[in-house]
């Protein structure tokens, strides 16, 4: 897309002055924006500098008088949020206790766009103030339930992986004692093998129990919302 290029040279060299201005070009090509893959290489979305050149919405007015208002509009409805400015109507920044994010509200943006020009037209001609709002169906959004599910799915993968890491340690401790001749020296000095295995078992089990206890503590008391 040529939005990010120098518009004048682009229109002159590549488009042969086909468009009167950049808005005309953008209006014609805004549909394509939704299907254009973003090149993430060599781009920093943090400052979003080039995206600020994008229009949030464009109007094309065909007829406007006291009897008739005929116009078309398009809103930037790209599904990737980096292709939007922080404009407050199609992309909203939220700072809250649970969420610190920027969310896309394309439909609200489209309604807002139409509402702005309609309200101005009605105010001008009929001196009437028009108020439009969107209300969604009142489905409760159970964020805690969702988090619970996410935690459960994560648990079934993460917890077994974490808890299997004790095995090499158990193995290593036994083999080290064997390799360094410690076991034979203990045997020579009168240790019963049954005691050795028993103590090893209990020690390793306590070691494992400590891991489980830490997991349990964090799950029960720390990761509580």
């Amino acid at each position: 897309m040529p939005y990010f290029k120098d518009w004048e040279s682009f229109n002159r060299d590549e488009m042969l002055n086909k468009y009167e201005d950049s808005d005309a070009f953008i209006y014609e090509h805004l549909d394509n924006l939704g299907h254009t893959p973003i090149n993430f290489v060599n781009r920093t979305f943090d400052d979003n500098a080039d995206v600020t050149a994008l229009p949030d919405a464009v109007y094309k007015v065909f007829e406007a008088n006291q009897k008739k208002l005929n116009y078309e509009f398009k809103v930037n409805d790209h599904h990737v949020w980096q292709y939007h400015r922080n404009n407050g109507f199609s992309k909203i920044t939220i700072h809250s206790k649970h969420l610190d994010a920027q969310i896309l509200r394309i439909i609200e943006g489209q309604v807002e766009t139409a509402y702005t020009i309609n309200a101005a037209y009605i105010k001008q001609n009929f001196n009437t103030t028009l108020v439009v709002g969107i209300n969604y169906y009142p489905f409760e959004y159970d964020i805690y339930g969702l988090l619970d599910r996410v935690m459960n799915v994560a648990t079934v993968i993460v917890v077994p992986i974490c808890l299997c890491m004790g095995f090499p340690i158990f193995l290593l401790s036994i083999v080290t004692e064997k390799e360094k001749r410690l076991l034979e020296i203990m045997k020579i000095n009168g240790m019963k093998m049954s005691n050795y295995w028993m103590v090893n078992y209990v020690f390793n089990y306590l070691f494992y129990l400590l891991t489980v206890a830490i997991f349990y503590f964090w799950g029960s008391y720390v990761f509580q919302f």
Partner: protein, 282 residues
Amino acid sequence: MFVVLNGWGMAQISWAFFASVFLNKAQVASIVGYGIAVYFMAIAQIIGNVIYVIPFNMPWYYHLVPTFSFVRAMQHLTIECLANSCYGKFDDLTATEARVSIAMLYVHTVVYAALAWYLNQVVPQTYGVPKKWNFLWDKKNRSGNSYDFDEIGDLENDRENNNVPVFDYETSLEDADAQAERNIVYNLDKADYYKYPLIIKDLRKEFKGVGGRKNKVACKNFSLRIKKGEMLGLLGPNGAGKTTLISMLTGLYPASSGNAWVAGFDIKNQLDVVQLQIGLCP
């Protein structure tokens, strides 16, 4: 939940005991340990979460590895937690496979512990004297805290009956006092063996030759008797076989031939009793 985690911990430890039988190097053990843990866990996750997703049952043979049983049990618990309500007791488990998985963790614990106990005594290690594979049934070799008089004197009988040559070198080269000591040991009555703190008879150690070389004889043919209250210092140049002798007496290496009796218990069949009688500072 605790039943599962407890079972997994116990199964893991038994499994580690079992695996330690076959490993003699710590470095190898850590690599193999992490390999077993990570690879089995990855396979178990893929099998449980991708191939045999929960309404379907995992084939029975996957339960032969503890990791698979554990991951399966965790998956059952989690899915029940998501779908209905979490399990509180073992009786609440509705899925048969969940019960099987948890039970298998405890079966693994017992089976691997038993295998580890048996193999640890039978499989030859770098150090130590392995027992015979049938030591559980072979009553003759069963070690106990009693004097085994039948065993004593077998060497003489064997030599007389089968005409086995005693020495692979000229006895005449021995010093007179060494010959006298040998004679004393040979003429001891086997019933008197328990009276002596240490009797060594014809003890010999050959280390296997590596790379086609000849076997290395570390200790040719050693006979010695120590009386009660006697103090003995063993002197000799480097490579004389002093350490080898002590290692054989303490059970670090098995003797190639011959036998020794510590307080009347012989080092071939009653080693664990012998080790209760001695103190060693290496």
